[in-house]
């Protein structure tokens, strides 16, 4: 069986490195983006099985990534969004656009792994 592919869009470099290692350890293949634009490019080329994206990112926001995936590419790839406390409204928007799950920052990477596994099960 080939590895499940995940696109991770996050602009904090330490965090994304941390998550990359954590998820690679679980046997996933990771593609990293620092903003939404890169994320969209990666999604289009690699057709990942799961997308992890921060909501607030430079230039192209996480919301736009979701919108692009659901409305332009029209694919049902599961999406988990990261948001900071107080961005409830954005989270609601993310869900209405078709996000599958969300994690409020600060979050525990272990919990993320559990949710990733659940969505890819």
């Amino acid at each position: 069986m080939s590895k499940n592919k995940i696109v991770l869009a996050e602009d904090n470099s330490t965090l994304s490195l941390l998550l990359k290692f954590r998820l690679e350890k679980e046997g996933y293949e990771l593609f990293m983006a620092v903003d939404g634009k890169e994320a969209i490019e990666l999604i289009e080329t690699h057709k990942p099985d799961l997308i992890l994206t921060d909501i607030m990112m430079p230039f192209v926001s996480g919301l736009e990534v979701i919108s692009h995936v659901r409305n332009e590419l029209i694919i049902e790839t599961p999406i988990i969004v990261f948001s900071s406390a107080g961005q409830e409204e954005m989270v609601l928007k993310a869900f209405s656009l078709g996000a599958n799950d969300f994690m409020g920052k600060p979050f525990s990477p272990n919990e993320l792994v559990i949710r990733v596994k659940r969505l890819l099960a």
């Binding site: 904090n12 470099s13 965090l15 490195l17 941390l18 107080g86 920052k105 600060p106 525990s108 990477p109």
Partner: protein, 367 residues
């Protein structure tokens, strides 16, 4: 040689003022040369620092990730981690590297929680970084103290409470603020007790930061906020109002009603908003009774409340204000009327144009 002698003589013949100007010019010229050379040095140093910054950042990020994942493998403190700690201990002897490591850890603490946050904290203790933060508290510069407290807050270092608390009355507001944030981060709502005797104003910025910390906590058990609603410090009252809105404090409605007649206008306006949020229909009669004595902003807020909490019996009041002098109120009144009595609302269309309010005319244009 002759030339120089010639210039010296020439110079000596100058009037005093001209001599002075030449001397000053000479000094400025030397200053320019010196500053230019020194600028080169500074720029060299800054470039080097930038380069090191990227290098160290990558290095320490990798190291940190390694450290954090070593933890998952075994419960006890393993060798690999020990080695990393020793390495970091060496590095933090240099100020630049120390700053870098702290900033990486600090930023990561913003993003992660749970077991990973705990391991970062352990690392912070074991490498001795905490001791540097503690020495900062003893510094004579206020901004270094503030920075130190901020760091202790981020890494939730509780055992230095006594060292930090003494800064709560520091003359510099930035230091006071960091202390407040520390208290709330560690002791949650209990930490807010400094509000009881706060004399200085609590700025919007401070309030936002305190609320952010509170909202990120797992423990959302709020304390009794009534004393703060009655505070003589208006900014504390405003802060308590925000708390009552965010934490849906239905039980403080009576105190809120009292605040409707507070002498501070921004408090009165905000109370109406909070009451709107908390379904404070009790406020309606009181506000209706002295509606004409309210400021325009309060009147608008009150119509905002009615928009949400209107019942059919409010109709006469609404109707009375269809022609209020303020456009926003006209518009709100129309909207509300539409929601409770659509027939009457449609009937307004039959009014001759010159008898319509500006809001009605605008609405018509759109429809």
């Amino acid at each position: 040689m002759i030339d120089i002698q010639y210039f010296v003589d020439y110079y000596n013949d100058f009037p005093f003022l001209v001599k002075l100007v030449w001397i000053v010019s000479g000094l400025m010229f030397s200053a320019i040369i010196l500053l230019t050379i020194y600028l080169k040095v500074i720029r060299y140093y800054l470039r080097k620092k930038d380069k090191e910054f990227t290098k160290f950042k990558n290095e320490y990020e990798a190291l940190l990730v390694e450290y954090l994942y070593a933890d998952i493998e075994s419960e006890e403190f393993n060798k690999e981690q020990q080695a990393i700690i020793l390495k970091i201990k060496d590095h933090i002897l240099f100020k630049n590297k120390r700053k870098m490591i702290i900033s990486i850890l600090y930023n990561l603490m913003n993003e992660v929680s749970g077991e990973m946050a705990d391991s970062i904290k352990t690392l912070y203790y074991k490498t001795g970084l905490i001791d540097y933060a503690l020495t900062r508290l003893k510094n004579k510069n206020w901004y270094i103290i503030a920075k130190g407290i901020g760091e202790l807050t981020r890494f939730t270092v509780a055992d230095v409470h006594d060292d930090v608390i003494k800064f709560i009355k520091h003359p510099k507001r930035e230091v006071r603020k960091e202390t407040q944030l520390y208290l709330v981060s560690l002791y949650h709502f209990e930490g807010l007790s400094f509000l009881n005797e706060l004399k200085e104003p609590l700025s919007e910025w401070d309030q936002v930061q305190l609320l952010e910390i509170l909202q990120k906590l797992d423990d959302q058990e709020i304390c009794d906020i009534r004393p703060w609603l009655r505070s003589t410090n208006d900014t504390v009252v405003l802060f308590a109002l925000k708390l009552s809105q965010i934490y849906n404090q239905f039980e403080v409605k009576d105190s809120l009603m009292d605040l409707l007649s507070h002498q501070n206008k921004s408090i009165r306006i905000y109370v109406i908003e909070v009451l709107t949020h908390l379904y404070g229909i009790e406020a309606k009669d009181k506000l209706k009774a002295n509606f004409n004595d309210l400021s325009i902003e309060e009147q608008i807020s009150f119509f905002g409340l009615l928009e949400k909490l209107v019942i059919p019996s409010d109709e006469p009041f609404i109707e009375k204000h269809l022609f209020h002098k303020n456009f926003e109120i006209q518009l709100l009144a129309l909207k509300i009327l539409k929601s409770i009595n659509i027939d009457k609302f449609m009937g307004l269309n039959n009014l001759p144009t010159h008898k319509k309010s500006p809001a009605m005319l605008k609405l018509e244009k759109i429809a």
